[in-house]
């Protein structure tokens, strides 16, 4: 099961990264502000994958303790952490040669929710409902 969760983390991370890169392209072309030197594509992809893998490991650990209550607690924690992660993005100080820093949060704040969205979306493909009611960590 742990391997399945890791795969879930990896695939949801890649999907979240792809979504974030598409969003970055759309955002840059629509508002005319380019932050690709600060939010680099490689960095976006790595942070999404790492974030989702950590979430998957977190799910596995929670499941050891909470059994059938894992999902509700995990979902709450993931969403709360996603919200908390936007605070540094709002307070970030960009290099002074970057124009329109006020547009930067509009780029990165939505991206902080992509890992949770991707994870929740494909989770049913990896963890069956019957497994959720039981102890899935074999």
């Amino acid at each position: 099961m742990f391997k399945r969760l890791l795969l879930l983390g990896l695939i949801s991370g890649v999907l979240a990264g792809i979504a974030a890169l598409i969003y970055q392209k759309v955002y840059s072309s629509s508002v005319g502000a380019d932050f690709s030197n600060i939010a680099k594509p490689v960095g976006i992809m790595i942070s999404n994958v790492v974030g989702c893998i950590i979430a998957a490991v977190g799910y596995w650990i929670l499941n050891k303790w909470l059994k059938e209550k894992t999902e509700i607690v995990f979902n709450f924690i993931f969403v709360i952490l996603s919200f908390a992660s936007i605070i540094p993005a709002i307070g970030a100080k960009l290099p002074l040669d970057v124009n329109s820093p006020e547009l930067f949060p509009g780029l990165v704040i939505p991206m902080h929710f992509f890992p949770a969205l991707a994870f929740f979306t494909i989770e049913p493909l990896f963890i069956k409902i019957s497994e959720k009611t039981k102890n899935i960590v074999a």
């Binding site: 960009l94 290099p95 002074l96 970057v98 820093p101």
Partner: protein, 178 residues
Amino acid sequence: MRTIILSMATLLTFAAAFAFAPGTNWQIADKYNVRFTGSGDVGGIFKTLKGTIVFDENNLPASNFNLAIDVASINTGNGLMNTHAKSAEWFDAAKYPQIKFTSKKIVKTGAGYQVTGDLEVHGVKKEVTLPFTFQNKGTSATFNGTFTINRSDFHVGKPGGDVAEAVKLEVMVPVVKK
């Protein structure tokens, strides 16, 4: 007698010409830098500097600066801080869109020069004396100055708080001869 009168007239003409000789006009080039730093993470730049510079190392009485900085061009690197800095509590960019400096007197000092003039920030005009250096490279030159001003003297922000009263300003202005 006639020779003496002619000689004196010539001398007077030269003296008058020298006394009223205009200083050299300089045009502000790109890549200037007006940077401010305060306590903690307070700091940033003003991106727009305009004005006229007349400066001649050999004719300081004819030299003068008339400079203006657009307050709205402030960039702290953070959007929220930019908005806050332009608000009525700080620079009030809507009411006082420019920071102005008009020189009155320039004197030579050991390390460089000192300019005394009126600095107008946030609608408050005060006489200040600012040190600067001048590196002349013929048709181009660079002015450099580092000095500290007290923001409360100009009623910028509330006294006290997280932002220190003393704000360090570093100005680097490359110029080209007009």
